[in-house]
């Protein structure tokens, strides 16, 4: 492993106690975990995916998975904030123009720029590949005026990747992704943030108004689809699944510790069965995550597209399966932990908090949107190609 990358792993392990210590307070307050994110900035971890020549660690999506899982085991909100930031960084690294990359990537690596994501929009809901508000050309600037109902860390981000309709007369699926600096925008917070879980993501709604120069377009104008297929979706589904898996594994580990600590008391068959079920669920997610990670990494190494039907299906299935199975595992573990250790907020183990956090997973890009798409894609893969393809 390269030196930069090895030290990123060391740094990631070193910040774990910072993440752990603030997790309960962050959840209670529903405020952005400034201290934890500052620690990630200072440790150079915001630049995990930034190439070494731009001052980053030069990590790949496998490194994102490994570290997102570590963070997820300590504070799910902080972990998701970080994973989503890395997801945005991947888009800039792969699709940003030379000028944008040279200007922005070193600042990301230095921890000066945390990138938030603006894809959801009021009228179209979660649908990623369409846009309502349009970019308006104005001299040599592109004007933005957009409602964003849910922006993780929007109050603290130095930069935003925003999807916009390409122009006022473009069709609603001609979407342009553009980078906007905080000081290029006038930001208004719209609405409160008081959700069930993922409270630290501080994802209140915003209205963004401002203008950016054309070199801040990421990918081709109107060509967000390619950025989404090759970067935003794979990085997102891999990173989020790793966060959820890390969280579920942590709860399983804590509950196992709790049951073991009961000492000589006999473990009932019912408890054994419930522990086995949780173990099966997290193992399934872990193995599938590894398979899909390898499939994506192999394509990237070979320089081939991720647009093949089986790969698209696998990426969708990963997100749906990880969101459902990790939540189911923690739900079952709450039954094992019981009222005092499982259901109460002040339990020494965070079953209740992670349960609430993981309930968001099926909504964080709606599973319904993915399964309806996957069903259509499945009809185009009558061979039922597995990840890994050579298994049977």
């Amino acid at each position: 492993m390269e030196e930069e990358l090895a030290s990123a792993y060391d740094a990631a392990r070193a910040v774990l106690p910072v993440l752990e210590d603030q997790a309960a307070d962050t959840d209670r307050s529903a405020e952005f975990p400034v201290k934890a994110v500052d620690a990630l900035r200072a440790a150079g971890l915001m630049g995990l995916l930034v190439p070494v020549e731009h001052g980053g660690s030069g990590g790949d999506l496998g490194d994102l998975v490994a570290i997102a899982g570590l963070f997820g085991s300590r504070c799910v909100s902080t972990a998701l904030i970080w994973a989503m930031h890395c997801q945005q960084v991947d888009c800039v690294v792969r699709f940003g123009g030379e000028r944008l990359r040279a200007g922005l990537l070193p600042r990301i690596a230095a921890g000066e720029v945390y990138l938030a994501s603006v894809t959801t929009e009021a009228g179209k809901g979660g649908h990623l590949l369409s846009g309502d508000a349009a970019l308006v050309g104005d001299g040599d600037q592109l004007r933005i005026d957009r409602q964003a109902p849910i922006v993780t860390g929007g109050g603290h981000a130095e930069g935003f990747l925003v999807t916009m309709r390409e122009s006022p007369d473009a069709d609603d699926h001609r979407v342009t992704l553009c980078y906007a600096e905080r000081d290029q925008l006038t930001l208004e917070t719209t609405g409160e943030w008081d959700p069930l879980g993922m409270r630290g993501t501080a994802s209140a709604g915003m209205r963004l108004r401002g203008a950016v120069p054309p070199h801040q377009v990421v990918g081709e104008p109107g060509g967000f689809r390619a950025v989404a297929v090759e970067s935003m979706i794979p990085a997102g589904h891999l990173g989020w699944s790793a966060v959820w898996l890390g969280a579920a594994r942590r709860v399983l580990s804590d509950v196992l510790g709790m049951v073991r600590a009961r000492g000589a008391e006999k473990v009932s068959d019912l408890t054994a069965d419930r522990l086995a079920r949780a173990r099966i669920d997290v193992e399934l997610v872990a193995s599938y995550l590894a398979s899909v990670r390898d499939e994506v990494l192999a394509h990237r190494r070979a320089g081939t597209s991720l647009a093949g039907m089986p790969t698209q299906i696998h990426l969708n299935n990963l997100k749906v399966a990880a969101s459902e199975l990790t939540f189911r595992a923690v739900d079952g573990l709450m039954q094992v932990a019981g009222l005092a250790k499982g259901y109460l907020r002040d339990s020494p183990i965070p079953v209740e908090r992670v349960f609430r956090d993981l309930r968001s997973a099926a909504l964080n890009y709606g599973n319904d949107r993915l399964t309806t798409m996957t069903g259509a894609l499945a009809l185009l893969d009558r061979d039922v190609t597995f990840a890994p393809a050579g298994l049977l």
Partner: protein
Amino acid sequence: MWDARFEEVLRPYLPFLPADEPLTPESSLRDLGLDSLGTVELLGALEHEFGVRFVDDALSLETFANAGVLWAALDNLLKQAA
């Protein structure tokens, strides 16, 4: 450029292409309104019309990027069958 039957089968799946506007190889099928379920139906319709079976291995989101790429994929199958 392509078999007239190809365009006949394809057009109904492109709601944003006016009847009097030409379809070119560069025409983006997605821009013209082809969605993912439409894609499945379209493939079925092409297979039926031309008596071929697409090899799923060779399909990708790119196969449906524009009319030219889709025709090339179909033409390839027709040549193999001939």
